[in-house]
């Protein structure tokens, strides 16, 4: 979800700052403790980088679902009209109920994107 992405990006941003500091400290002081810190943080940044794809690809499938839901919404809308024009009251009522339902799903899905 968006909040997980926000946190991950925030972690990466802070970690690259920290790495820069540690590196700077190392080349200024030539202290091995800075180099150790640098290397430790480097591993963490690599892990965060790997998580980027996982977190972000959740986003991609959510988008696909959302796009397909719009199709379903429009399909049910067309089916409502078709059934309505054929005076098939049970049919168009059912289809319109689907329209209402999928519309509510669309409203809700926006939150996940």
């Amino acid at each position: 979800e968006s909040f997980e992405r926000f946190l991950l990006l925030n972690d990466i941003s802070q970690r690259s700052n920290l790495l820069t500091e540690k590196l700077h400290g190392y080349i200024l002081d030539k202290e091995n403790s800075h180099l150790k810190d640098y290397r430790r943080e480097k591993l963490k940044l690599i892990k965060d980088q790997n998580r980027l794809y996982k977190v972000m690809s959740t986003q991609e499938v959510t988008l696909t679902n959302y796009k397909n839901m719009i199709d379903s919404f429009l399909d049910e809308g067309d089916a409502t009209i078709g059934a309505f024009q054929q005076d098939e009251i049970n049919q168009y009522s059912n289809h319109f109920n689907e329209v209402l339902k999928i519309n509510s799903f669309l409203q809700e899905s926006t939150l996940d994107l």
Partner: protein
């Protein structure tokens, strides 16, 4: 990038048992290029479960794997989904009268029956039994209780004192176990029919220091259950194969989509596990 897009909808997302089902499903998904979503209620709630399936159908996914939790609601729901062209495979819990293409999971009646026979043997045919089940409406829970009842019904020394539901909730399972201990001091045995029930029963029985007086048989082999078996608080548990259910559901769905013939009912292994069976 992915060939297929499947959705698995369990009754409860962050349930340790269902995480094993997911793990098996992901293994197959990764192997066969399936984009697998694992979505559902954070806590068992049938309305949310139904809605998640409906949203998945509206999202035009390639296949849906879910429990066939109740005939009343799930059979027409599954039928509607299949009518939209999306194949459904039931996992763990069957809705045998729906248009689901296949079921993979335990033979739940038989599993309950095995539990009943084990209790008879372990209690030498004399026990006042309280059953804590997941939910009263779920097909698989009904079948487990039924199987158990059928196994013990001819035993004159076995009396079923109470049957309560935990709603797939640790907290509720503990609460019901405690209530039974207070309301029914004559109870000498518990049967927990979902993965978490036996664990919470054992916890309460230990809390009231009755582990030497009360016999417990549980379900599944979560680490906590295994730990209680080592301790002796739980005497036996009914084994299921959630990982295989998940893995098999995905491979069966791939076969369905590719037009291959699929066995309609696949029972995963179930048996009783005792302390002596542990390494």
């Amino acid at each position: 990038k992915y060939q297929y897009h499947f959705v698995m909808v369990p009754e409860e997302l962050d349930n340790d048992y269902w995480r094993l089902v997911e793990k098996g499903a992901r293994a197959a998904a990764d192997k066969y290029g399936v984009q697998l979503e694992y979505v559902g209620p954070k806590q068992a709630n049938i309305e949310d479960h139904v809605k998640t399936i409906e949203m998945s159908a509206a999202s035009k996914v390639d296949g849906i794997m879910t429990q066939g939790l109740s005939d009343e609601q799930f059979t027409p729901l599954i039928n509607r989904v299949v009518e939209k062209g999306i194949p459904v495979i039931t996992v763990d819990t069957d809705a045998a009268n729906s248009r689901r293409e296949a079921y993979i999971g335990t033979d739940n009646y038989y599993a309950g029956y095995l539990a009943g026979k084990e209790l008879i043997a372990d209690t030498k045919g004399k026990a006042n039994v309280a059953i804590i089940t997941g939910t009263f409406y779920a097909n698989h829970m009904q079948q487990r209780v039924k199987g158990f009842q059928d196994a013990v019904k001819e035993e004159k020394g076995i009396h079923i004192i109470a049957v309560e539901e935990s709603e797939i909730s640790r907290v509720k399972a503990a609460e019901k176990a405690t209530q039974i201990l207070k309301d029914h001091p004559e109870v000498t045995a518990f049967f927990g029919t979902s993965a978490l029930d036996g664990i919470e029963i054992a916890q309460m029985v230990e809390k009231y220091q009755k582990q030497n007086q009360i016999y417990i048989i549980g379900f599944d082999t979560l680490p906590e259950t295994i730990e209680y078996i080592r301790k002796g608080t739980i005497k036996a548990t009914v084994v299921q194969e959630p990982y295989q259910m998940g893995y098999g559901a995905v491979t069966m769905m791939i076969d369905l989509i590719n037009g291959k013939k699929v066995t309609p009912v696949v029972h995963t292994e179930t048996r009783i596990l005792r302390l002596k069976d542990l390494p």
